[in-house]
């Protein structure tokens, strides 16, 4: 069993906009504060797929991307601009369990990957 607990990433103020441009995800809850609040959210929230992409980066590092065979995650709490995320994973043979928490210790993502 190997534990990796070293990556910390601060989500910049403009990250939802940058990720929207790069990923084509222009859902208004990610880019329009009034719209997000009118729909019951505290602020614009980061695309879940962005958090998942950052988590995949934590798992793969500089290895060949084909090492990742499956990857599933559950989004537990919204990620807001300014949040600081901690990535922690535990590897048992081909299975990796990963967890992402914010600066308040709340879990924002939990996931599993299988690797070769």
């Amino acid at each position: 069993m190997a534990i990796k607990d070293k990556s910390k990433i601060r989500i910049g103020k403009y990250m939802p906009y940058f990720y929207a441009g790069a990923s084509l995800d222009y859902n208004l809850i990610h880019i329009d504060r009034e719209f997000a609040k009118a729909n019951g959210l505290p602020d614009i929230i980061l695309q879940g797929m962005c958090t998942m992409g950052l988590t995949a980066k934590h798992i793969i590092e500089n290895d060949h991307p084909s090492k990742m065979q499956t990857f599933k995650v559950r989004f537990l709490n919204p990620v807001l601009p300014g949040d600081e995320l901690n990535f922690k994973s535990e590897k048992n043979d081909a299975e990796i369990n990963v967890e992402v928490t914010n600066q308040n210790g709340n879990r924002v993502l939990r996931g599993q990957a299988t690797v070769r």
Binding site: L24, I29, G53, A56, K57, P65, S66, Q69, F71
Partner: protein, 149 residues
């Protein structure tokens, strides 16, 4: 508002992966893996084009999903939609220059009451993406939550 008729709705679209888009995507994620950005390094591995990172699947699936989001029934739900769960199974690697064909189908739609008594709707979309050689690149399950008022 009845949306019971959305199960089985199916859309498809093509997406051509460009090296420039891969570079743009990994730059935003701060991902410096050379398999994505170093053309010469990747050529030295197998002679092929740079790889797309696994979650680039969000991009090549996007045109098919966009067609779904524009659907007259489904589009009414989009303002209160958040992403609940996401699952990927990867096949052949996706690479710059690949032409990816994706089908997206709504496979589940049901109500779920949370701990505070709010009724949310859960929608599951399954996608299947193949490349220009008809090889399966990725299947995915999107579990979306339409938050109750």
């Amino acid at each position: 508002m009845s949306t019971d008729n959305i199960i089985g709705k199916k859309y498809e679209a093509d997406y051509e992966i460009s090296f420039e888009k891969i570079k743009e995507f990994v730059e935003v994620l701060g991902d410096k893996n050379p398999h994505y950005t170093d053309r010469e390094f990747v050529k030295s591995i197998d002679g092929g084009h740079p790889f797309a990172p696994p979650t680039f699947a969000a991009i090549y699936c996007q045109p098919a999903l966009k067609n779904l989001y524009l659907d007259s029934e489904f589009s009414k739900l989009v303002p209160r939609l958040v992403h609940g769960e996401q699952e990927y199974n990867f096949g052949d690697p996706a690479r710059a220059g690949d032409l990816i064909h994706t089908t997206a189908e709504i496979v589940e739609h049901f109500n779920k009451t949370n701990r505070s008594g709010k009724v949310h709707q859960i929608i599951e979309i399954m996608t299947a993406s193949t490349n220009q050689n008809d090889k399966l690149v990725c299947t995915a399950t999107y579990r979306l939550v339409i938050r109750g008022e």
